[in-house]
Symmetry: D3
Subunit: 295 residues, 6 copies
């Protein structure tokens, strides 16, 4: 019995957090390790279902990652990258979209439904959720000249029509969104999933944006594993970038947070997706997980 | 961090139970020790608020107990009992109603609101929730004759009008109900709180009736503290009464359960209100607390 | 037949007034003689039920008066007053709340229901309707110094949450409100009923505030019973106070009216509760009853 | 003041009747003297507006009478009658419809609106409210043979589509209906107004059908003005017809009542439209006006 | 089969126009030849029904024309005109209203219902749709003095209460409105139908106002049948009037358009009602029919 | 102008059909040539958008066809068939699902949105739309024994949860559904698209099921191109199968029709998808396209 009572006490501890987020929308960028490791995946999706049941409105925007590369390999398509951006010709885009919207998306949906939620998978094409224009990417030639590189069907989101997502939320579903966007002629574009999550959070007037990553968060001193920055104010960011403490793939993630905050999202979080139930810990406990970027 | 993760795991364990009771109505008869001891009281009301937040519709029907006797004493009114029923003259009824509807009820409401719920206190007079007729009570005289005893304003509920409670639930409130009923001329009647809870559960088409008591449950052998009967089938009850294993104040409680089951309530529970968070344990874990009486 | 026709004519005469107030909210402070005398009580509550049926939205805020003093006496508690304010220790507050919320309130509810309305009793604790802070009361010591007097659980309303009252109105009920408020820790406060009525009228965006009193209204010359001031403009009030024509217990009532008018209530009325059906006369006829205070 | 109080008392006396009919639909066949005399007309329409304000749902079906004959005369059209039915050729029907739907109907609407109601005029053509087929009328020739007489555009209602009336009621309007019906090819038919009122009452599931006439009601002995039959049971009707106590134009009116009762209308009334406010007296007092025909 | 496919292609061609006007309100002034010729009438009303089915919200305001004159003649009433305005004494007004609201209106309603729409006929008296004041008309006497001419019950619309029309639209009906207005005492006024249509379009926040006429549109050169002005900008109107290219009965029609445009209507059209399906051609094709007056 | 008028006449001709199907649900199995040929594709999807605009509720269930085989080839996966059923191992199912839900589905959605509809793509996994169990397939071995063949992830639909489709319809979207179903453990199953369409039509209580094929319909005599059977009664089917007039791939299509009719769908149609706008012709004209199978 005593363990039972301890369990009850822990449920009770969650009450203030449940109250705090009751009815609020939380957009979760789901990617990285947490999408590959089965145990972590089960934990993330269970967290999401639990959130829905206790009155929070979670929305998932997922990435693609290794599965895209795997499928491209299977069809004998080599990936070429320019400045870290995949050059996406028509055939590549076809594979990218199939993997994102036809495999990863539907797999997440099926797992959520199995756990007991009611999920609906959407891509940015559905009801024109994400409209995009071709990304203009400047490169510097070996000779030092700037020129435009054609990186194919990589897009910048030009407009978000969140009605279909809002409808799904209102009808009790958990929307799961693939980061594919649609162009003016109905063509597909590959868009950055972090950015798509941030834009959607703004369009939905979300309370919270959570970006799952494969790092602990932003560190004050990378050689010191105890130097995690728990709270980062928007105006501290430029200095940290200058000092190189925020660099590489973390820069666009932090920029997503800044954009979301500027667009009215109340708080943004860069969480370690490798920690089990990191979302639950962030939302339902006082324990500082990862880095919160705030105004 | 490890403790945090354990906590998350416990929250996750509650998910199947949250799913199971999502949207269901649970009527709780609140009384006894759990209403006097401050720590237990905090625990019970927190459980109720938590239930509301995770999508369950709790309704409280409270008893009176020692506070009524205390107030009667303060005004110099002696309590007389016939077969365990308080003889309730007009002056006594006035005190009873004031204590139930004006003190205990409003105190529970205020505590729930402080914890974070939104409670509304009602008595059976509000919107004619509980209509009653004078209770007819037969006694046996010392000479052995049967005759009717006038025990005053003690009533039997003749009709339940649950609309006001249903409205309060639908509007997001936690209804807290005092067991006072109204007669045809607007006069007040004292009604048994267990019975009021059972009748209300039926009228609301509730899923569950929980009666908090000051015992562990129904025991197969009272000398053996490990002989708790976890599940009791309706057809086993008559024998247990005959054997004296259900007796005294437990008989009307069990009868309330039988009535509620007959009226369509899915399950009924006699719980030990002295155990902290006993309601939460009953609803959110597999652990058998108290005795469930079922069809 | 001729009498019948005369009766019809009188019903028809009421039509313009019914039209005028159709759908409007009217808050009535109910107290004094009209609450003690049974015939007047029946008349007042019948007026209220009639108002509801003809499309007006009446809300009652009642006082306490002699019943509180009576009950305090019965428990051997002496009442102490400072500047007309009852010094309210914890035990006194307990009695005050029980009488207001458990006796007077529920009695009014039962009588309205008997007459054919559908009433719901509320106290300021329900859904945090009236939140209060402890009243700071300055007194002048015999030596002439100003100091704070601790008058106990006497509160000033700091916030009104009228949702529960609005819900009750929308669902077709007549809300009956006891002037008890709740503090930050869930403790009870005694608040002035006139003031509570005025604040509630403002929060509900009411059309009319009616204060039932035991005087005819405000008199231009108290020695002349025919000098009733039928209409009093807000800007005339200061002079009348200076001249002593508004004094004593009438001052706070007039101040309530001024506050309500400042808060957007369209008209306020100080009526003689000793006149049968004075509310009906005020609302449904041209006959000037009492004093209207208006902008 | 005393008169004012008497007036209040009369308003209060109406309360039980207001309660009784709250939300109920009452269909009124309006015709005869009450439509010609200006004072009576004002009284009838005021009664209707008052009913609406106190929560009753009145619907008016009006007749035509002298105005039709007047207009036919003005265009030099002679009226021919067969067994009391106007032979209605196309030109006559045109005049009948214009007078009913274009003059009388709109005039009633305008008067109700002036008094303070919100009326909408409809004919049976609007939204196909009344669909009709040509009336088959048998006559006996002077030679004693039965044959069909062509009486033109006189119709029998074959179907009632009450949605437009129900919508008008739900939106707060008082529907005023002209007894014109539409045939399969869009042609107009003259239909009996009593019968149209009865059929509409059934289709609307009305509580009451009131037929205004120019007689006091049904008399047990026509030579004795005090022999009014206040209540007539359905099974007493055949005998009264046999005895000639119900005859002439009263027979179809009574038949309308029987049809309406058979169709589920709760009570039907034949009232004297020459008495001012006879509707109000019927609905709001105990005074027996006219004859009630009931099951 | 080939013809069938061509037909399909034509349906498909209409799609962009259907999309464009989906959910928009279009007010049509229906009058002239299109109301007299049976084939044209069938075509106009079919167009209106089709519009309703494809998601447009058509509202008809009809004129009177020859039928009024005809009926006046039949009752031996001579029409007198002052500056083109019919001098409308009480008897004339009675006839005008009967013909408009009782004959033409109901006939249009019946035809629409026969074709498959659900029409409801209204006059400006219904729910006080059009309120009017007596028109003040100045004339110049033969002696050259200006003086007021009493032209009787000719009114200027002083207020539009469009709720009844909006309700009818929302409930799926096609409102058909007769240009009769109501004065303060319930009296009827004859109002200009073009003007009524324009005012109603503004009050309904309509997208389009269409005025059916008996001319091709506004011509740049009346001697040249090919000189139709397809699009006329508001600021070009004064010049065209000065040049006499817009004159006579066309001036008030153009003024209606200007008023409607000033009141927020998006586009206004003067169409040739003598062309079959001219409304359909205007709404569903690119073909320029008549003259569009726009900002 | 004359052509314009002819066009108008054709629009008007469609009116009776628009009326007939207003508000009705039509499920379209989209596959074969009409999905490959760009012109036909544009025509089909335009038809669907037009249907939506004129008040019909179209739902598309699409097939896969050559694109699946193409992608399997690209990844070097050979397709094996047993009795015409593709043996679907896990890797094959992954490709099948990606192509169906990630490519074809989203492409149809994008094209509909481009044409002006608002489409949402769904697979049977979304909100558990199609639940399936593994298909049990018996084969006859070369030795003549019957045994079960494991054909992998080919499923039979065991349950349809149409709520997500119904919600999408109600919110104004055109649902586009991929024939993928979900098993108890969240695994994917390939299901027959015709059958999925039929089952969905029943679950949605659809009025019409349309199956687009690559043949003209069912022929009485295959050598005679003019022998199309326009209407086929359910009870004629067995004989036609026996006579071999319905055989091969047509048998399951006809069975789908029979199942749908048995489940309450009003009419079912086997249309020639190679004819442009064949859906429009079927729905909006009298012209017999393909074969209607009916009760």
């Amino acid at each position: 019995m005593s363990t039972a009572i301890e369990k009850a006490a822990i449920l009770v501890e969650a009450l203030p957090y449940i109250k705090k987020f009751y009815g609020k929308t939380v957009v979760i960028k789901y990617g990285g390790h947490a999408m590959i490791n089965n145990e972590l995946k089960e934990a993330v999706l269970t967290d999401v279902v639990l959130m829905k049941y206790v009155g929070i409105q979670p929305v998932i925007v997922h990435g693609g990652g290794p599965e895209i590369t795997g499928m491209l390999k299977r069809v004998g398509k080599e990936s070429r990258f320019v400045d870290g951006l995949r050059v996406t010709d028509e055939e590549t885009m076809e594979i990218v979209e199939m993997v994102l919207a036809g495999k990863i998306n539907k797999d997440i949906v099926a797992q959520i439904n199995r756990i007991g939620g009611r999920a609906v998978g959407l891509s940015g094409k559905d009801a024109n959720l994400f409209q995009a224009v071709k990304k203009l990417h400047k490169i510097r030639t070996p000779e030092g000249r700037e020129e435009m590189a054609d990186i194919g069907f990589v897009g910048d989101i030009s407009r978000v029509n969140p009605e279909i997502v809002a409808t799904a939320i209102a009808e009790g579903y958990i929307p799961v969104v693939a980061p594919v966007a649609v162009g003016a002629a109905g063509e597909s574009y590959n868009v950055n999933a972090d950015y798509a999550a941030g834009r959607l959070a703004v369009a939905l007037n979300a309370d919270k944006l959570i970006i799952l990553t494969d790092v602990e968060g932003i560190m004050a001193d990378r050689s010191d594993p105890h130097s995690l920055i728990s709270v980062l104010r928007v105006d501290e960011v430029p200095n940290l970038i200058k000092q190189g403490k925020i660099d590489g793939g973390m820069i666009p993630k932090v920029e997503c947070c800044l954009d979301a905050l500027a667009g009215g999202v109340k708080s943004t979080h860069i969480l370690d997706g490798r920690v089990q139930h990191s979302i639950l810990l962030e939302v339902f406990t006082d324990k500082g997980i990862g880095t919160m970027v705030e105004n």
